[in-house]
Assembly symmetry: C2
Homo-oligomer: 324 residues x 2
Amino acid sequence: MFREKRYKQVVHAVEKGILDGKYKLGDRIPSINSWRIRTGLSRSSIILALKELKSRGIIESDQSVGYFVSSTKIEVVYRILLLFGIPSLFKEDISNSLIQSLGNGVTVDILFHGADPETLDLLLDKVAGKYSVYVIIPSVNCNIESKLKRLGGKVILADYYVDSLIGKFSSVTQDFANDTYDALESCLPAIRRYKEIILVQNSRFEPMSRMDGIKRFCATYNFEVGYIKTMENLPIKQGAIYLTPEDREIVFILTAMEKQNLVIGRDFGLITFNETVLKKVISGGLTTLSTDFVQMGRTIAELIRQPGIRTVHNPWKLIMRNTL
Amino acid sequence: MFREKRYKQVVHAVEKGILDGKYKLGDRIPSINSWRIRTGLSRSSIILALKELKSRGIIESDQSVGYFVSSTKIEVVYRILLLFGIPSLFKEDISNSLIQSLGNGVTVDILFHGADPETLDLLLDKVAGKYSVYVIIPSVNCNIESKLKRLGGKVILADYYVDSLIGKFSSVTQDFANDTYDALESCLPAIRRYKEIILVQNSRFEPMSRMDGIKRFCATYNFEVGYIKTMENLPIKQGAIYLTPEDREIVFILTAMEKQNLVIGRDFGLITFNETVLKKVISGGLTTLSTDFVQMGRTIAELIRQPGIRTVHNPWKLIMRNTL
DNA sequence: TCTAATTTGTGCGTATGTATG
DNA sequence: GCATACATACGCACAAATTAG
C-alpha cells in the first residue's frame, strides 16, 4: 500500500503556499524550527524536504538567514546541470536529445569546466545542492569522487570513461580502447592491404587510451604501430592508415597529399573521428568513427528516470567513405 | 558548501563604485546606517564589510565623521558571467581570449539561453546580483533593458547588434548589414562577372539583417537579389553567388554542383561564414567571411577595465579562396 | 566591542520498512 | 527464510554566519 512520505507534507505546503500567492518570489519561508513546531517532524526530515525544493530550484538558502523562494515554477521535477569540458557541436546533440526525451517539468543549465581540474573542483562546490541531476563529462582523472557524492543529487557520468568512478555512479561512456579496436576489426577487409596504423593527436582533450586499442589490434592482425603528435610539415608514409580526431591534422595530411601527389584511399588511408556534415564533401568523403551523441542523450534520460546505478556503453558507428 | 557571504555585497558595491568613478579618491562613502537601509543587513555585517575594505587599504575611517576612499588602485576579483545563445566553437574563442586578456584573479561562468527569450528572462532573474560583470549575447529583440539595469554589475553586450540597447550599455558587436555590404564591396572585382547574389539560411540563430546589406549592395552595384531557406534538392543557378552561414547548405550546394557538372568559382560562386580549418581544404578552399572572435574577447576585456559606456564595432575578415 | 540568540549546515548513530536476490 | 542494500525518519552535537542588543 502506498504511503506518502512524511517529509513530503513540507514540500507540498511550500508548493501550495507559492501557488496561493502566500509566498512570493524572493519571500522568506518559515525556518526549520518553525516547520518542526507546525509539523512535529524531526529536524532531519524538514531538511530533507527543503533540500528537495532546493534541488528543484524552487527555494534557495542563505546560511544563518533563512530559506527564500527563488522560482515559482513548482511544476519543475528535474533541475539538471550539464557539466561539460569544452563547447562543441556534439555536446549540443547530447543536451538536445536529453531535453527532448525528458519532456516537460525539466530545466537544464550547461556549464563548462574547460578540462581544468581546478575549475571543475570550484564549479562542483558552487553548484552543489542546487540541482537534482548532475550530468558530468569528467576531464582528467582527478580526485572528485568525494565531491560527487556530496552533490546531493543523482550523478551521471558521460562520454569519458574514468576507471575509478565506474560502478560508483551511473554512466554512459565510450570505451575508447575497445571501440577503436572493434571499429578497426569491423573494416578489416578494407584495410588489410595497408602496413601500418598511425594515431595522430596532440590535444589534451583527447584520450590516449585510443592507442591501447590500436596496439592490441596491430598485435592481433600483424600491423605496424605508430604515434605522432602532429603531421605539420611531415610527409605521408605510403601504406599507412592515419587516425586523427583533430581537424587541423586532417588539413596537414591533405596538404601533404597534394604536395606528394598521392591518392587517398590507395597510397594511404585516413580515419577521422566525429561525423559532421562537412566531412561528407572533403576529398570525396572522409571516413569517420563516431559515437552517437543523440543516443547518449536518450540514454542519460533513461538513467535519470530509473533508480539505482547502471553502467551503459554508448554505441559507435563507422562510416566508410573514400579514404580507406 | 560554497556560498558568497552576505556582507560581501557591501564590499562589491564599494569596489564597483570606485571602478565606475562614482567614488573618487578622498570621497566619503555612505554611512553604516545608509548601508543598512539599502542592503537590509545588520549593523555588525556592515562593519565586517568596512573592516575588510579598511584592511585592504581601500578606505579609511575617521571617528564619528565617516569612511573615505583612500586608494582607487584596487585589485578586484572580477566575477564574470558569459551569457550566450548556443554553444559553438566561436564562443569558446571569445571566452578564451577574454580570460587570457584579464589574467589572474578572474572567475568566469558560462551559461546559455538557447536563443529563447523566456529562458533569457529567467536566467537574468536568477543570476542578478551574483556577478560583477555580465557579458551577454542577446538573442531576439526582447525587452530586457530594465532587467539589465537591475543586474547590479557592469553589462557588456556582444556579437548581436540590438538597436534599442546601443548606447545604453557597452558593446562589441558585428553589424551584420553593413559588414556584409562592406565585405561584398571589398571583393567587387572578383564578383563583377556574376549576376545574382543569393542568401541561403534557415536557422533561427542567424540574423536576417544580412539580407539588408545584400539588398543595398545589389541595388548600388546592379546585381539581382535572392533569398531561400535551403538548397536541399534544388539546382544551382549559373551566374549566382551563394552566401550561407550553415554547413549543411554548403553540402547541398556542393552535391548539386557534382550532379550538374558545374565548376565552382566559374559557373557560380560561394561565400560561407565563419572560418574553420577544414574550409581550407573543401573544394580547393572555401571563401569565408568571419568576425574575429579572439579580438572580440580582447575588446571585452578592455571594456571591463575601462569605466563608462563604449560602443565598439568588431572587425570582419574576408578570406578569398577558390570559390569566387 | 562583546555576548547571547537565531538559523542554516554537517556529521554520526540508530531504528525501521522495503525491495532484491 | 536470510542477508544485504537503500531510503526514510529521528535525535543529538557542533560549526559557521548573521543578527540584535
